[in-house]
Amino acid sequence: MSTAVATAPESIHRRRHYLNADYGIRSWLFTTDHKRIALLYLFSITFFFALGGLFAVLIRLELLTPAGDLMTSDTYNKVFTMHGIMMVFFFLIPSVPATLGNFLIPMMIGARDLAFPKLNLASWYLFMAGGVFALYSVVTGGIDTGWTFYTPFSTTYSNTKVIPAALGILIAGFSSIFTGLNFIVTVHRMRAPGLTWFRLPLFVWANYAASLIMVLGTPVLAITIILVFLERAFHIGIFDPRLGGDPILFQHLFWFYSHPAVYIMILPSMGVMSELISAFSRKRVFGYSFVAFSSVAIAVFGFLVWGHHMFVSGQSVYAAMVFSILSYLVAIPSAVKVFNWTATLYKGSVSYQTPMLYAFGFLGLFTIGGLTGLFLAALGVDVHVTDTYFVVAHFHYIMVGGVIMGYLGGLHFWWPKITGRLYPEGWAKLSALVVFLGFNLTFFPQFVLGYLGMPRRYHAYPEEFQVLNVMSSAGASILGVGYLLPLFYLLWSMRYGPEAGPNPFDARGLEWQTASPPPTHNFEQVPIVQEEAYAYHAAQEVPVAG
C-alpha cells in the first residue's frame, strides 16, 4: 500500500539530509536551500507572532475594565498599532507562503529548489530588515496611527515614529514581492515531467493565486507608503487637505492593496485545507477544478472590492453600490470551497488526527468569519457596524481563525516531513481543542459588542460593555495557552519525537515520496508524474523514478 519503498527507514542520524548537510550558523545564514530558508522564516515569524501576541495580551488586559487604567491612552494606541503591524505584515502575510510554501512548493512539483534560490534568501533578509525597522520604531517611542495609517492623522498630526515603521513595512513588502515572483516562475518552469497544471496539488494552486496578488498588489502599498513618507517629510500636499490634498485618496490606495492582502493571507491556508481534508478522508478533493479556479477567481475579484472598507467615508452612493455587489460576488468562490471541502468527507474514510482537527476548526471559524462578511458587505448594516468590534471580530475569525488554523494544521501535517519526527499526538489534539474553544470565547462576544455599538480602537469604554469584554479577555488567555502548547511540544519533538519515516500519514503528493527530512536536493531522481493529484484510488502505485 505504502509508496515509501524507495527510501527504506534508515535512522535520520546516519542518513544525510538538508538539516545535517552542513553545520554552523554560517551554513544557515548563507543557505540557498528553500527548505532551510523556510525554517529561517519559521523561526522569525514565530518570534514576531509572539511579540504581536504579547501586545494582544496587553490590549485584552487593558480592556478588562472600562476605565482605561492600566496604561495611558497614548501607550494603548501604540500597543494596538504594533499588534496590528506585527500580526499583519510580519506574521499573517508571510505565514503559510514563506514557511510551508517555501518548504513544499518545490517538492510538490518535483523540483530541486525554487527558480531563484538566491532571491529567496534575499527575501528573507529583506523581511528581517523590515522587522528591524519596525522594532526600531517600537523601542524609540512607538507609533500610534493604527496599522491602517489613515491620513491626515499619520502624515500631519501624529508625532510618533511613523517613518521607521512605514519603512519597515515597505521593505518587508519587497520581500513578499520577491517571494511571489519566485513562486510564479517556479510553478511555470520547474514542474516535473508529467505534472500538468491540472495535476497540481491545490496547495500549489492556492499559493500561485496568492503570489499573483503579492506581485500585483504590493507595489501599490510601496507607492502609498512612499507618498506618506514624502508628505510627512516634505509636506507635498497629496493627502493633507490644508495643502489641497485629499485624505480619502490615501484610503483608496491603502485598501487597494490591503483588501487583496487579506487574500494573500487566507488563500494559502485554503490550500492547506485541501491537502489536509483529502489526506485525512483518503479521497481526492471533491470538484478539484472548481476549487482550483475558485482560488484564481478570489485573487482576481479580490482586487475589485477595496471600497467596501469605505462605505461611510464619504464616497458616492453609486460607488458604494458597485463595491457592495462585487463584495458579494467575491464571497461566492469562498462559499464554493467550503461546500466542496464538506462534500469531500462524504463516503470518505475520515480519521481524526491532529491536522484534521485543525481542519475542522478552520471550517467552523472560516464559515462564521465568511458569513459575517455578508453583514459588512450589506450597505445599510455596514454603516452601523463598521469601525466597531463587529469588524474586529469578523477579521479575526477570518485571519486568526482561518489563517492560523490552516497554518497550524499544515505545520502539524508536514512536521514529520520537515523534522523527520512525529509530534506527540495527545498534546497536539489537546492544543487544537483549546485553540478552538479559546478562540470562540475570545471573539464571539465581540460580534455582540460591535452590534451594541462599541467602537474599535477604544482605550476606555462605557460600563455596560464590560461583561462581554471580560469574557473576551478570559477567552484570550485560553487561546494564548492553546498557541503556546505547540511551541513547547513541537520543540520537544525535534529531539525526542519518534522517527516518522517518509510518509507517516500515508498521504499522496510528491513531497511524501522522498525521505523525511528530505535530502538537500529533495529527490534522488526527478520523479515522473503519471497521475492526477490525490490519487488515493489509482489503479497502480505511483511510480518512483529510479
Binding site: 489613515y150 485624505p247 471533491f286 455587489i325 458579494y328 474514510s349 454603516v383 474599535r456 455596560e464
Partner: protein, 329 residues
Amino acid sequence: MGFDLPLFPDQASTMATRVDHLYFYLLAVSAFFTILITAMLIFFAIRYRRARHPNAVPIEGSTKLELAWTGIPLIIAMSMFVWAANIFFAMNRPPRGALEIYAVGKQWMWKFEHVGGQREINQLHVPVGRDVKLTMISQDVIHSMFFPAFRVKQDVLPNRYTTVWFHPTKIGTYHLFCAEYCGTKHSGMIGQVVVMEPAQYQAWLAGGAQGGSLVASGERLFRDLACDTCHRPDTGARGPDLAGLFGKPVRFAGGGSAVADETYIRESITNPAAKVVEGFQPIMPTFQGQVSEEGLLQLVAYIKSLQTQTPAAAPGAPPAAAAPPRGNP
C-alpha cells in the same frame, strides 16, 4: 457595576428598525448555513470515520451540485444586496425640511451649533419625532459621527461637509461616539444625544441662545471680514453677488461648473483661486486660517439665508432653507 449584560442596542430611530430587520434576516441566513455545514461535517465525520468506513469511495465531483451551491448562495446574496442598498439610499437622502444642526469635530471633542445660535459640546439635544440633519466638518483629522441607537454613522472630514440624518422615535439619552480612530483621546471623544419632547426642546433652545442666531452671526462676520466690500448687489462690485447663489449651478472661468453647495461655498472662502466664477478676476484673498470652522459654518448659513432675502423674492416667502443640498454623500 453589577452584572449588566446587554445583548441588543436601543432602538431609537426609524432607521434602527429598518436596519434591525435586515440584520435579523442576515442572522437567520447565517445561522442556517452555519448549522447546515456543521451538521454535515459532524454527520460525515462520524458516519464515515475510518474505523467504520476503512475504504473511501472515489467521487470526482458533480457539476450539477457545483452549479447549485454557486447559484443558490448567489441568489440569497443578491437579496441581501438589494435590501441593504435600499436602506443605504435612505440613509444618504436627508429628507426635506429636516431640522438642521451643525457639527464640528476636533481632537477630541464634538461641537454642535443650532440654527438659533445655541452651542453645546459633546451633547446634542434634539426633539423626538422630527427629522434631524447634521452638517459636519472636521477641524483636523478624520472623525466619525456614530449614533448606535439610531444605527447611523458618517465620517467627518476636514475640508468637506458631510451629512447624516436621523428621525428619533424614543425619548432618552443615548451614546454618541467618534468611530474613526483620531489619536490620543479617540475613546474620550464621546458624548450623548438627548432626545426630548418637542415642547421641552423648545424650552431648552430658549435657555441656550447666546450671541444671536447662526445667520445673524454669519452676517456680522461677513461685515467684519469686509466681504461686503466686493460682494455687493450693485454694479460696481468686484465679486459676484451672493444672493440666491445657494443651490444654483455656477460656471467657472476656466470652464466647468458646479452646484453651489456648502462645500463649494466653504472652498470659495478658504481657497478662492481654486474655482473662479466666470466673468470675475481671481482677486479674492484667501481667508484660510482667519475664520474658524464655526465661523465658516456661520458664513455658510448666512449665504444660504440670502436665498430668501433676494429683492426678487416675494415678501413672505417661506423662511425655511430652500432645497436641502443633495450633498453628494
